[in-house]
């Protein structure tokens, strides 16, 4: 039974819970005048205005709504949604997210999937508008109306006619042989009734038989008593033998008769009760299966078959609890009948409202209304005949909201914005305000977290960077600024590390030119590194000297003044002999100014050997080669002074 109730999952949106299916937005149905008879027998199509009245008159908390919760169920009511919590949005966006069963219990994920699948299957199904479908719908109405009295005749005639029509309805595939089940129950009742009639005749006979056996017993007992009185009158008279032996077979027959009689009466009583319970179960089963017409037809048969009997439904305590909660109410066949009619009306109204809302572009409400109608009256004509193109429009909306849900779930803000825009273009009633707020808030919080990460990075707070970045990703994983930030940071970290390593390596190798060649990278990377920065500056000064001398030497060499070029290079070389470029140029110029270079070299060698005069001679020879040689002139003057100093 409980499983069947789960199958009867219905939407518990507040509008439905309040019994207000937005009929106010639907143009009033002009077919408001109906006969009471028609009102009592609802039409499957949305032509039943009397039923609409019933719907309007129904109390708040419709039984079919199952007392479903209404709080927080307004579409896109985000309440106090936190920026980081998109679950509420997802729940509210989901048109299937608010499903509850008849007990008001929220449907679990598996149930929602089943329901969603069924609803989507319905939305893609061709409408049941074939002649056969329409004929079947008409026939069900006809059966119901015949039982209600249409066409006149006695009760037996109408029951018999309706019973015959059940076999006709059974022939339609969409009936699923439910009418045959009703017809079988009716036949079963009739057969049982005949059997009970036969048992009544048999009981009459058995009653007579019992009376006869009782009479026989009385006769035997009377004869026995006469014999005993006669014996007591004579003193020496011998007591006559007892007539007990005559009584035994008679008593046995009497017992057998009484047992049979009791058995027959018991069968009569129990079979009636069982039949009643069977019928009641059938009525309830049809109701739960949302086969409202079948439920009403079975109900009508029940009332004729078990006329003048109590209509209270036994064994339906659970249903009563689910439908009416703690209210002490008697659940009768009439109650079920009223509930069926109300469901039929609600379905018709829901479909009509959905149709109207679609025409106005209010797809969110239309989807809700159609879902409600579908889960109340899946097998009713208004649902089955709803046009496919309308259903496809609903399906598009559902798919778009599903996409939006997925985007919000993964916090793909750009995608959510894109889909939101699409939905807004055609769904006029889509409340985008809170989604937009969610998107904006996500963006802002993500960017704020990025700023925090930047500040942390500037202060060298690695843990702070990680935490802030994690926060930024959490709010908006696809935030393009995160990627930018990471690229910058990774670039910076990498550059600094690599540059430091490179600098240390080149410095150890005394490859100052290598450092000079990549001076811009090192300058940026080592700016905050005091010790390396100082080393770097020294190297830059050294390289400036070298580069200047190389530049001058190149120019002098171009002017064919190779001695001067060599001399400039040689001076710098003596200070910084490790520079490869300087070495290369020195070698080159040494060839071009070989005699001058050789003189200087020889002089240097003499000087190193302590032969100052010889050195002086060498420098003078060099001067003679290149009179402008400052190198030679300086040395000459210096050496001359030294020589005199050493003379006594």
């Amino acid at each position: 039974m409980k499983k069947l109730f789960i199958l009867s999952i219905i939407l518990a949106v507040p509008a439905f819970a309040d019994g207000n299916i937005e009929t106010g937005s639907v143009p009033a149905n002009p077919a408001g005048e109906k006969t009471p008879q028609q009102a009592a027998v609802p039409q499957p199509e949305a032509t039943n205005a009397a039923a609409k009245e019933t719907s309007k008159a129904k109390p708040s908390g419709s039984p079919l709504a199952g007392g479903a919760p209404s709080a927080g169920m307004m579409p896109l009511n985000l309440n106090s949604l936190g920026a980081g919590d998109s679950n509420a949005i997802i729940s509210l966006l989901s048109t299937q997210g608010n499903l509850t069963d008849a007990m008001g219990q929220k449907a679990d994920e598996a149930q929602v999937r089943i329901v969603k699948g069924r609803f989507e299957k319905y939305l893609n199904a061709q409408p049941a508008t074939s002649a056969e479908d329409l004929a079947y719908n008409d026939l069900l109405v006809e059966i119901s109306q015949r039982l209600a009295g249409k066409g006149g005749g006695s009760d037996d005639e109408r029951v018999t006619d309706a019973w015959r029509m059940l076999f006709k309805a059974e022939g339609y595939s969409m009936d699923d042989q439910l009418c045959r089940t009703i017809a079988d129950k009716v036949i079963n009742f009739w057969q049982t009734t005949r059997k009970i009639s036969r048992l009544a005749l048999q009981n009459e006979y058995l009653e007579k038989e019992r009376k006869r056996r009782e009479s026989d017993i009385r006769s035997i007992n009377s004869a026995d008593r006469q014999d005993f009185i006669a014996m007591m009158r004579g003193k020496d008279a011998t007591p006559p033998p007892s007539r007990e032996y005559e009584l035994d077979p008679v008593k046995k027959r009497l017992e057998e008769t009484e047992s049979k009689l009791k058995e027959n009466k018991s069968y009569e009583a129990s079979s009636r009760i069982n039949q009643k319970l069977d019928f009641q179960s059938l009525i309830l089963q049809f109701f739960i299966q949302r086969r409202y017409y079948h439920s009403m037809i079975a109900n009508d048969f029940y009332r004729y078959i078990f006329s003048a009997e109590d209509g209270k439904l036994d064994g339906a305590d659970q249903l009563k609890q689910q439908m009416f909660g703690g209210i002490d109410i008697k659940l009768t066949t009439s109650t079920i009948d009223a509930l069926c009619k109300e469901a039929i009306n609600d379905t018709a109204n829901g479909v009509q409202a959905a149709d109207y809302l679609i025409s106005k572009g209010e797809y969110h409400s239309a989807t809700q209304r159609l879902m409600e109608a579908f889960f109340i009256g899946e097998h009713l004509a208004p649902i089955k005949t709803f046009p496919l193109e309308r259903k496809r429009e609903i399906l598009k909306y559902i798919r778009d909201t599903d996409k939006l849900i997925n985007a919000v779930k993964v916090k793909h803000v750009e995608r959510a914005e894109e889909i939101l825009k699409e939905i807004q273009e055609y769904a006029t009633d889509f409340d985008s305000g809170q989604i937009e707020a969610f998107i904006q808030t996500s963006k802002q919080l993500s960017n704020l977290a990025l700023q925090k990460a930047l500040v942390a990075a500037q202060t060298g707070n690695q843990a702070g960077v990680e935490t802030a970045l994690q926060e930024a990703v959490e709010f908006w994983p696809t935030n393009p600024k995160i990627q930018e930030f990471l690229s910058t940071m990774i670039g910076k970290v990498d550059l600094k590390d690599v540059a430091t390593t490179d600098f240390d390596r080149l410095f150890a190798q005394k490859d100052f030119r290598g450092i000079f060649n990549d001076r811009f990278r090192f300058a940026a990377a080592l700016a905050m590194d005091k010790s390396r920065s100082d080393q770097f500056m020294e190297i830059m000064k050294r390289m400036e000297t070298i580069e200047t001398s190389i530049g001058q030497a190149k120019e002098l060499s171009r002017l064919k003044n190779n001695f001067a070029a060599w001399e400039i290079i040689e001076k710098v070389y003596q200070m910084y002999p490790e520079d490869q470029e300087l070495n290369r140029m020195r070698s080159d110029l040494t060839l071009r100014a070989s005699n001058f270079a050789a003189a200087i070299s020889k002089a240097e060698e003499s000087l190193q050997n302590g032969d100052k005069w010889e050195a002086l001679l060498g420098f003078i020879r060099a001067k003679q080669i290149y009179p402008m040689s400052s190198f030679a002139n300086d040395k000459i003057a210096g050496l001359a002074e030294e020589i005199l100093q050493n003379c006594n």
């Binding site: 032969d611 005069w613 002086l616 001679l617 003078i620 003057a637 001359a640 002074e641 020589i643 003379c647």
Partner: protein
């Protein structure tokens, strides 16, 4: 009177001739300093040579010690340093002035002026 003064004049002339008698090496018209001197001056220590040269410049001077002149050999234009001791008398070189120098190479290979004659 003239005859009485003749012997005095003659002695003076002889004395002058003796005084200005060119030493060995200075008797020629050019410098006889060997070229290898530039490469290994110590190898010629103790030798004396005469050099015709003009004064180029004074490289250094130290009171009580002397000076080092840079002279240019007339024959080949080679520049040479020349050490002139402080006590060399009557030697007042001027730049460009040509001399015939009598030099001697000391133990350090230095060219030391031993005599000179203005050209």
């Amino acid at each position: 009177m003239i005859a009485a003064a003749f012997p005095v004049i003659a002695v003076a002339i002889v004395a002058l001739i003796i005084a200005f008698k060119p030493s060995k090496g200075m008797s020629g018209s050019g410098s006889d300093l060997p070229d290898r001197y530039f490469d290994a001056p110590k190898s010629f220590a103790g030798n004396s040579y005469s050099i015709n040269a003009s004064v180029d410049s004074q490289l250094a001077y130290k009171g009580g010690v002397g000076r080092i002149l840079l002279v240019q050999v007339s024959e080949n234009g080679a520049l040479l340093p020349l050490f002139v001791q402080e006590d060399t008398k009557n030697f007042n070189p001027m730049t460009g002035q040509k001399y015939r120098f009598a030099v001697k190479i000391d133990g350090e290979g230095k060219l030391v002026l031993s005599n000179f004659r203005k050209m």
